[in-house]
């Protein structure tokens, strides 16, 4: 029996209403959740593990290092700083590898789609052409599929590239940032190579200088952000459609009593998209009817949820932390999982119900689950097989409890392209209004809330931070499970502007947007890199990402991917705040992350444990950047006379040589 229905002694109180309601039901009485396991384990986390100074990289150890105690060096002599840095580097490598394997599947799916081998199609031709320009692919007079095949193959080559050429997408970064990467020699090359090199350099007896280790950690993480993650986002957009604003719902209340509920959990949208297509087919609907259901209700969990939420408006039932609760409703016929962030416990929870856990990826299997391999060559068939299995369970459904009240409306779909268009319309799309209103102070800055959720901080941490930020006129961008949490809190909704400060509210009212913009799954943090770059390009806010009054946080980070994301943010000049880092056991290294990196990247890692503290720190950073930009004071209105109007964009003409300027200047 579950030990507590209200969190546990070792973790903060559960505040999420749907979680509480579900766990209080009788049918859930035998469900053991992560909360319970925290308590049952009855011990706090290992101090060496938490501090990053446990080394298991060779068989002389394992060695627990105590910083500053000469007798407690590693057997090989490795210091706490070296060990913590190596561990940190490996976390980045692991995170990068996860995004990379995900991205590789997407690129391969993209090529297959372009070749007509999947039921999908090349949807966003405009974006295809944009990418073609970046990849140097000719578009004139060519079929979209032909262009896509060429781009796909070039993209795929980026993973395995062996020469020293920077990854293609890095050319999208601000010029100044690129110069820095060049100077530091951390321009990421082949993505796989960077992961391999990270692993090699952290092998016993290789790189033992933490600054140097972190250069590779940066390069490896940049290969994630500007490499695999960005490729995944962009090619997925082209294939499944770039997100546009749409209405949807989140939270467990989206499960339907009279329909076959199938939750899709994991990360790769190829599976989810195939399920979406299959669930609309007559034969599947017929099957559901025959089983006595009114239809098939797909609902997302974790980032797969965010992928189909953004592109199809399919509801998200739960974030990472609620994956067990979704099953505890007893209303789920099957939880279909692929890769990443799937707790092994779901199979255990499912045993209490009629639910099947269906694994679909050869990489990711678990005991007590059904494996139906998702075949990319025949995705629809695979999807139908999965659906059929799930539908068959419907009749077996026993008592269930769906917390109806907790269905929350959200408006999602804020891709970079959406933001660009929504600020000026089809004809005047640009980030100008965003920059303008940051410069004039209506918007104080941009706060990015991303990442997972876990049991270390209160489950309302995202909400507390977001509320504080928007109240103080900070526009919030969000992705991943953080976005789901903010959705549940009702902040991913245009009516949430009533919680925003007067300046931000005015801008949101003008545009008709929520004060918290949902930008997608965790792999879509690359959208934030592009958005930040676009803000730099639009002008008036400095000439590098590190100049922007913007900062990110992953307050409830859980997965190694979050650390890779954090490191690619920092190496791109975007400061981040985490609630803790596994580096505290190594003073000098920890200090380098928290302060020393400022000189290198113009951004550092911050650590703050309390949500409000995190929010305040974010605002401090934003204010400091405003001051450095000289936009912290009220500005006089500039009126333009003819001379000044001629100078607007006039820098592109040759001063004294007459009518020779560009025919007009681009906005």
């Amino acid at each position: 029996m579950a030990s507590s229905r209200n969190g546990c002694d070792s973790c903060p109180e559960i505040t999420c209403i749907s979680t509480k309601e579900v766990l209080q039901q009788d049918i859930a009485k035998n469900v053991v959740t992560a909360y319970d396991r925290v308590k049952r384990r009855g011990m706090t986390a290992c101090l060496f593990g938490s501090g990053g100074t446990c080394c298991r990289h060779c068989n002389m150890g394992p060695c627990q290092i105590i910083d500053g105690v000469d007798d407690m060096l590693g057997i090989c002599g490795a210091t706490a700083d070296t060990v913590a840095a190596r561990n940190f580097g490996r976390i980045c490598a692991a995170g990068t590898s996860a995004h990379t394997d995900h991205a590789r599947e997407m690129v391969k799916g993209f090529i297959a789609t372009a070749k007509g081998e999947t039921p999908h199609e090349i949807k966003d031709v405009r974006k295809l052409h944009m990418l073609a320009e970046i990849f140097g692919v000719e578009t004139e007079g060519r079929d979209k599929n032909e262009i896509a095949v060429e781009i796909g193959e070039l993209a795929l080559a980026d993973f395995g590239s062996q020469d020293d050429k920077p990854l293609t997408m890095t050319k999208r970064a601000p010029a100044k940032r690129q110069e820095l990467w060049k100077r530091l020699n951390i321009f990421p090359r082949g993505v796989d190579r960077e992961v391999v090199e990270m692993m090699h350099r952290t092998h016993m007896g290789v790189d033992q200088e933490y600054h140097n280790i972190m250069l590779q950690a940066s390069r490896c993480s940049l290969a994630d952000g500007w490499g695999s993650s960005m490729l995944s986002t962009e090619l997925t957009d082209i294939m499944f459609g770039t997100p546009v604003p749409r209405r949807a719902i989140v939270d467990l209340g989206c499960l339907k009593k009279d329909q076959v509920n199938i939750t899709v959990h994991g990360h790769e949208p190829l599976l989810a998209e195939a399920l979406c297509l299959a669930a609309q087919e007559e034969d599947m609907l017929g099957l559901a009817k025959k089983a006595g259901a009114k239809g098939i209700n797909l609902a997302g969990v974790c980032c797969t949820g965010n992928e189909i939420l953004m592109r199809r408006g399919i509801p998200v039932a739960a974030g990472f932390i609620q994956q067990e609760m979704a099953l505890a409703t007893g209303a789920v016929e099957a939880m279909v999982v692929d890769v990443q962030c799937v707790m092994q416990s779901v199979a255990e929870v499912a045993k209490n119900f009629h639910t099947d856990i269906i694994t679909t990826n050869y990489r990711a299997k678990m005991p007590d689950s059904v494996h139906i391999q998702f075949e990319e060559e025949t995705p629809l068939e695979s999807a139908k097989e999965i659906l059929t299995k799930a539908i068959a369970n419907y009749k077996k459904r026993g008592d269930c409890f769906i917390p109806q009240e907790t269905k929350v409306d959200v408006v999602v779909g804020f891709s970079h392209e959406t933001i660009n268009t929504m600020l000026g319309g089809t004809f005047r799309s640009s980030y100008r209004p965003l920059n303008d209103n940051i410069i004039n102070g209506r918007i104080r800055g941009v706060g990015v809330i991303v990442g997972c959720d876990n049991y270390k901080l209160t489950d309302e941490a995202h909400e507390i931070i977001a509320r504080h930020l928007i109240k103080n006129d900070v526009l919030v961008l969000t992705t991943g499970c953080a976005a789901t949490a903010l959705g549940r809190a009702g902040l991913v909704n245009p009516e949430a502007i009533k919680h925003a400060g007067p300046g931000l509210r005015e801008v949101c009212e003008t545009v008709g947007m929520p004060p918290v913009l949902h930008m997608g799954s965790c792999v879509d943090n690359s959208r934030i890199l592009i958005a930040a770059t676009e803000m730099v390009r639009e002008g008036g806010l400095g000439d590098d990402i590190s100049d922007l009054p913007a900062i990110g946080t992953a307050p409830l980070w859980m997965s190694e991917k979050a650390v890779a994301i954090g490191q690619y943010f920092v190496a791109s000049g975007a400061q981040v705040v985490f609630q803790n880092l596994p580096t505290t056991g190594a003073k000098a290294f920890n200090n380098y992350l928290l302060e020393g990196m400022m000189d290198t990247y113009g951004a550092v890692w911050n650590v703050a444990s309390e949500p409000l503290e995190i929010a305040k720190l974010m605002i401090e950073r934003i204010d400091q950047k405003r001051k450095e930009l000289g936009i912290d004071k009220q500005r006089e209105r500039v009126l333009f006379d003819m001379e000044m109007r001629r100078d607007l964009g006039g820098d592109k003409a040759i001063g004294d040589a007459g009518c020779t300027g560009a025919s007009h200047h681009e906005s």
Binding site: D409, L423, P433, G512, V638, L639, H664
Partner: protein, 734 residues
């Protein structure tokens, strides 16, 4: 943009597109898909659609695609709760509104050809002018880019009180803005209010009554689109370039009076795409965040006595108005105003009395700066209808002053005196003519005010070359005659000097980049014998302008060696143009139409074009609207000659150049000229006859055909053969 405004704009846009589509369906039935549609006399089709989409609506049938585009742009209505972002949809709806309104208005031209006057000024029975044709557009559009007019106020509706309406109009005029008037407020129309209050309306006073319905807002916006295309070199279809050009250069705004309907909101939303905000006197929501416009997007509840000030502040416009201490309004908006017979108080010169104006330079100690004297009777001394002789003698001194600059300074008198409200100035030198309106005299006008204007403005505009200005005005016949004598001597000397100046005698030519702010890849080369193709800038102007502003638009070019006197190739010129065009134009001839002709921005007075069959050259001026023997009208030819490209066989020229000895030198000179419009032939008759004589062929004048002989090359060829035109005997030019 607040939800209320966006919701209304989107509703309005739906209504307007529906209405326009209905009218299109009817027209389609009535006239068929092949029926031509257009705004009067323009090469820009329906200019908003053309500039935004690059699509030429020439026939009714062409509208089908555009309505499809409108439907694509038209968003769903905004929901009461859980709304999706509505700003972008509202802006798109505004764009669809303009597309629809343009088509709607063009169908109106078809249904009711005389609905609008299609003139520059109101006619006796109709004050509504409709869309500006290209003639008006060219003339006025240039003012938007040279800074004479910073922008326009697109007025929707009207204040109730005609005095208030007139005052607002006057205030806008004083800011040098154009005032475009549309629609009504509770049946009250601004233009009618002005007429009722005896205010002169029409293009000449910048008070333009476009139309009686909100759909005519497209005449204002279309005007802005054409400015960007014609002067900004923005290509049709480059919507972003056009919109940003207007946001940065055309300081226009919408001024709305009274309640704002959904349809007005739709138009206002459209205008925001161009960076044109809306200022309203009514209690509507405001949209203050910035970004698409330079500053606020919608500002409301502004009292009438603050509305003009507020409008220019919101638009971010700085208007530098020199305060001249006279009892009348002053500024370019009053330049085109006329003094009608009934309004006339008195007149001077112009054949009625002796009149003369002249400017001479003196030594520094001979001029007392600011001195203005009037000898003889002034306005207060005479009765209405009593005309007086007049002499205006302006004496200037300055360390940088040269006698070459005298005619340039003197030429300013015309527009400066015209800038005074209620005063009309025509002509120059000793054929000048001044008409004084009754209203001006009522407000206390004195001849001294002319002196004050000339003193103040000459200082302001030419401060770099002159230090002192004194003005001596006389209305006493004997004194006037003395000045006439003095002036005649000055004129003779000047003309002689100018006449002796040739491309060979001067080492330095001038570039003209006055159009720099708006025209692409083009540079004018002005030589003593080749006036700038706009007709406004000659070599002396270039020289003076350089003196006044050494980093300005006119730069000296050392002409270098002449490598080909007949084509007019100069090493220095080629070097300069090559550099200035970034290698796009490596070589330019000064005297040839066929070999590397000079490029043009688009502001030419006339166009020369080769007529291969006739083995000769035709020239057509901008004012001629008919067909030419080239098979193209002026507007079409303008497309061939403009744009900064060298197109052998097509070239922009000034009218004045037709009587230059360097005209088409490479092609055989004046004897190649086979056709010009009659109106042009009349205009340059004297000089042209003289040139024919100089060429040793006085009979050539009558051999040059006009539209009276024909508008096709065949007709002209027949005529040339009859007359034995020399071009037929020349070697083939093509």
């Amino acid at each position: 943009m607040s939800k209320i405004i966006c919701s209304a704009a989107i509703r309005g846009a739906h209504n307007i597109v529906d209405m326009a589509e209905e009218s299109y369906e009817e027209a389609l039935k009535k006239y068929g898909a092949d029926q031509e549609v257009s705004f009067p006399n323009t090469a820009y089709f329906l200019p908003i659609i053309y500039s935004m989409l690059g699509y030429k609506v020439e026939k009714i049938g062409d509208m089908k695609d555009i309505f499809q585009e409108c439907r694509n742009l038209l968003p769903d209505l905004v929901t009461d709760d859980l709304w999706l972002p509505y700003l972008a949809p509202a802006l798109d709806a505004g764009m669809a509104t303009f597309f629809a309104e343009e088509m709607y208005e063009s169908i109106r031209y078809l249904n009711e050809p005389n609905f609008y006057t299609k003139t520059e000024d109101p006619t006796a029975d109709n004050i509504w002018l409709g869309a500006a044709d290209d003639l008006i557009f060219r003339k006025r559009g240039v003012e938007f880019v040279d800074g004479t007019a910073p922008g326009f106020a697109a007025i929707m509706g009207s204040p109730k009180d005609k005095e208030v309406a007139s005052r607002i109009a006057l205030e806008l005029q004083e800011k040098n803005l154009y005032i475009f008037m549309h629609d009504h407020t509770d049946g009250i129309r601004m233009a009618e209010q002005l007429v009722a209050n005896d205010v002169q309306i029409g293009w000449n006073t910048r008070l333009v009554p476009f139309g009686q319905s909100y759909t005519t807002a497209v005449f204002a916006i279309g005007f802005a689109c054409r400015v960007a295309m014609a002067f900004g070199g923005v290509k049709p279809g480059d919507y972003k370039g056009n919109l940003i050009y207007n946001k940065d250069r055309t300081f226009a705004f919408v001024m709305a009076f009274g309640p704002v309907s959904d349809e007005w909101y739709a138009n206002a939303a459209g205008a925001i795409n161009w960076g044109f905000p809306t200022i309203s006197d009514y209690d509507i929501p405001e949209v203050l965040p910035t970004g698409i416009c330079t500053y606020e997007h919608v500002v409301s509840n502004v009292p009438h006595d603050e509305i003009v000030q507020k409008a220019i502040e919101v638009r971010g416009l700085k208007v530098s108005v020199t305060k001249i201490d006279i009892p009348l309004s002053f500024g370019p908006a009053f330049e085109g105003e006329r003094i009608r017979k009934d309004d006339l108080f008195m007149e001077m010169g112009g054949g009625r009395t002796t009149g003369v104006e002249v400017l001479v330079s003196k030594e520094m100690d001979e001029v007392e700066d600011g001195l203005v004297t009037v000898d003889g009777p002034d306005m207060s001394d005479i009765e209405a209808g009593q005309n007086l002789p007049i002499s205006i003698l302006v004496e200037v001194a300055g360390r940088e002053m040269q006698s070459d600059f005298e005619p340039i300074l003197e030429r300013q008198f015309h527009h400066l005196i015209n800038y005074v409200q209620g005063i009309m100035h025509i002509g120059q030198r000793n054929i000048m003519w001044i008409r004084i309106g009754k209203a001006a005299v009522e407000k206390g006008f004195s001849l001294k005010d002319i002196g004050k204007v000339l003193h103040g403005k000459l200082h302001q505009e030419f401060g770099a070359i002159l230090d002192k200005v004194q003005v001596k005005i006389s209305t006493i016949q004997e004194e006037v005659e003395k000045v006439v004598e003095l002036a005649k001597g000055v004129y003779t000397e000047r003309d002689l000097r100018l006449g002796n100046m040739t491309d060979e005698t001067e080492e330095v030519f001038y570039s003209c980049t006055l159009c720099q702010s708006f025209a692409p890849s083009h540079v004018c080369v002005i030589t003593p014998e080749r006036v700038g193709m706009c007709g406004a800038y000659n070599w002396l102007d270039g020289k003076a302008s350089f003196q006044i502003n050494p980093t300005g638009p006119n730069q000296p070019i050392n002409k270098g060696d002449c490598t080909d006197p007949s084509n007019g190739y100069f090493t220095g010129i080629n070097e300069f143009v090559n550099q200035a065009s970034r290698g796009a134009v490596p070589e330019v001839s000064c005297y040839s139409l066929m070999n590397n002709p000079m490029t043009a921005c688009g502001c030419f007075e006339a166009i020369a074009a080769m007529l291969p069959q006739c083995n000769g050259i035709m020239v057509v001026n901008r004012d001629y609207m008919g067909m030419t023997p080239s098979g193209m009208k002026f507007t079409t030819l303008a497309g061939m000659a403009g744009g900064g490209m060298q197109t052998p066989g097509f070239m922009g020229v000034s009218k004045h150049f037709l009587t230059s000895k360097k005209l088409f030198l490479a092609e055989g000179g004046l004897k190649r000229l086979v056709w010009i419009p009659k109106i042009l032939k009349e205009e340059i008759k004297d000089k042209l006859m003289e040139r024919c004589k100089e060429e040793g062929m006085p009979e050539l004048f009558d051999m040059i055909a006009t539209e009276e002989q024909g508008e096709t090359e065949e007709e002209i060829l027949k005529f040339l053969k009859e007359k034995g035109h020399p071009a037929l005997e020349m070697e083939a030019a093509v």
